[in-house]
Amino acid sequence: MHFAFTDEQGMIAETAKTFFAENATSERTRTAMADTGVDKLLWQTFAAELGLAGVAIPEVLGGVGLGMVELAILAEEAGRHTAALPLLASLALAAPAILAGGSDEQKAHLLPRLASGELIASFAAVNSDGTPGAMFSDGTLTGAALHVPHGASADLFVVATNNGVAIIERGAPGLGITPLTSMDQTRPYARLDFGGVAAEALANPREAANAAFTTGWLAIAADALGGAQACLDHTVAYAQERVQFGRSIGSFQAVKHRLADMMIAIEQARSAVYWAACAIDEESDEAPFAVHAAKAFACDTYTHCAGEMIQLHGGIGFTWEHDAHLYFKRARSNASLLGTPDWHREQVAGLAGLDEAA
C-alpha cells in the first residue's frame, strides 16, 4: 500500500504539467476552438515528440506500456488547461477498445499509429446513450451516432452497438460526418450517419466496450479534476489580487469559505480519480465502483468549481475574453458525456447492494 506517485509517476506528472503550461495556452486553445477543436501542433508534440499518446498501449505495439495512473496524470494536466486535444477520444476511448477487443492483426495494424499520433480515432456508443441508435449486422453499419467527441477530426471510429463493435475509417463509403457547433469548443462533437457502411468487427466486442467505457470514464474524471483545480487556483489568485471596498476580496470570509469548500471537494475528487486508476490497474474488485464514483464525483466537483469561478470573478468572469467559460463549458460536457453524475450514482447504488433482498 503506497497511495502516492512513484518517482517515475512524479516525473511524468512534472513533464506533463510543464508541457501543457507552456504549450496549451489560452491563446492556442482559442485558435483551435475557432477551427476544428484540435491544436494540431500540440497534438503533434504530445504524440510524436513526447510519445505520450501511447501511454497505456504496450511497448510491443508502439506505446509506452504504462497504465491508468499515468493516463490519469496526463488527462488531469490536459484538463487543467482545457487543452484542445483528442486525448479522450483517441487515447482513452478508441485505443483501449481496440487493445481489449481487437484481434492481434487489428491491434498491430492500428495501435502503433494511434500511439504515434499518425491517426486520431474516436468512439461512439450507440443505443446506450439515448441516440436513435445503430445496427451492426453482416459487416454493415446503419443508423446514426449523435455526439461523437472530436468526431470531425477523427480518421477512424470505433462504434459500439448492441450487436457488436465496429471499426470504420473516415473515408468509408456511406459514412456521413457532420461537425456540430458545440458548447464546449475544445472538444466539439460531430454527428455520424451510417448509410450502410461496410465495417470491420472487433473480435471481442464486450471487452472492447468495457475497456472504452472504463478508461473513458476515468479520463473524463481526471480531466474534471485538473479543470476543477485550475478553477480553484485561478480564483484564489484573483481573490488575492482583486480589491473591492478597500480589501482584497479574498479577505472576505464568505469568499474564503467558498474557496475552502472548493478545495474540500477537489481533494476528494483527487482521491477518487487515483483510487479508480489504481483499482483498474490492480484489477481490484472495487474498480467498477471506483470508476463510477470518480466520474460522478469529479464531474460534480468541476461543475461546482467552474460555476464558483465565474461567480467569484464577478462581471469579468462572464466575458468571452476570460477563460472561465472554457472551464464552465468543459465541465458541462464532461458531466453529460458517457453518463451523467446521477446515472453513475445509480450504478453505485446497485453495486452497494440496494437491490438485494432485505
Partner: protein
Amino acid sequence: MKLGFSPEEEAFRAEAAAWLKSELEGAFADVRGLTSLIEMPERRRDWEHRLGEAGWSCVGWPKAYGGRDATLAQQVIFAEEYARAGAPPRLNHIGVELAGPTILAFGSEEQKARFLPAIARGEEIWCQGYSEPGAGSDLANVRTKAWREGDDWVIEGQKVWTSLAQFSDWIFAIARTEDGSKGPKGLSFLLVPVDQPGVTVRPIHQITGEAEFNETFFDGARTHAANILGAPGDGWTVAMGLLGFERGVSTLAQQMGFRNELDAVIAAARANGEAKNPLIRQRIAKAEIGLKLMRYGALRMLTDAEGGRLNPSALTYKIQWATWRRDLGELAMDVLGQAGETVAGHEHAFPALPNLFLYSRADTIYGGTNEIQRNIIAERALGLPREPRGDLK
C-alpha cells in the same frame, strides 16, 4: 388578506388583454414570443412607440406624464397580461423601470416634463452607467469624473456592463463632481445624451457569444447643466433610491418571462421523457414552487409599498430570482442532456434554453452580486455588523 381581483379589475384585464392580442396577432405579430434582449431592435422601438401611443407604456405613471394612473392591482394585471400575450421584452425597460421612476422621485418639474413623456411615448431609450472596471460591486468607488464648463457638465471616465447602450439615446451615470472626494460623497447623478462625439460604446462579448453588455467611454462628453438629478453631490442618495425601483411591478413582468422559460423546460422534459425521472420531477417542482413564491413575495412587497411600508423581505428579492434562474438554467441542461450542447446551425447561436444556462450566470452578478445581496440583507434587515472597509486601492 385577499388575492383575487374585483370585477372592475377583471374588466381592466379584459381590456388590456384584448388590446395586446389585437396588436400581437396583427401589426406586431413578428415580435410576439421574442425572448432575446437584443434582437430586432428597430421593430422593438416601433413597439415602444405603439405602447406609448395607446397609453400602455407606463401604466402606473401619472397621466400628466404619459401614464394612466393605474392602481397597483391594475399594474399587476397589466404585467401579467403583457407576458401572457407573448409581448417582447421592453427595449426601454431601463427607461420605464429605472430612469423614469427615479426622475419621478428626484427630478424637478422641468425635468419630469422634459424626460418622462418621451419615455412613455417610446421616443427616448435609456441605459444605465453605474459599474466601473475597478468598482464592480463597489458603487462608492466611482472614478468617472465630471466638472462644470460654462453651461455644461464635462465627463471623463469609463462605465462597464452598460446593458443596451448600443440602442440608447440617454444614459444616466454616476460621476465624481467634487475633486478629491471619496466614497459616497461628492458624487452626482447625471443624465447624458449618448449620441455625441465624447461617448463611445464598445460591446463586451459574453460567454454566450452575444454582446448585450457594453463598455461606455466618456471622453470629454457633455451634457447640459440642467441634466442633473438632485443637487451636485447628491448622487449617492439618488442612486440608492433607484436601487429600490428595481423591485417594483416590473418584477411581475419579469416573472412572466420566467414562467415562459420554465414552461419550455417542462415541454422539453415531456418531449424527451425526462418528465418521468423522479429526480427531474423534484427539481421541476422546486422551480414551480420557487416561481410562485416570487410572485406572491412580490405581491406582499407591493401591497406593503402601496400602504407606505417597506417590507424588509423586499431586500431578498434580487438574490431569489437570480438564484432561481441560474438553477433553472442548470435544470434545463440536465433535462436536454447532450442535445442541449450542440446545434447544427451557425456559431454560438444556441437556442433559448442552452442560452439561458449560460446567460443566467450573469444574473447572480450584475445589479449587486449574490454576495453583496447577502451583506445587504444581513446588515440592513437583520442588523448585523457591517463589513469593515479596508484601505487598499
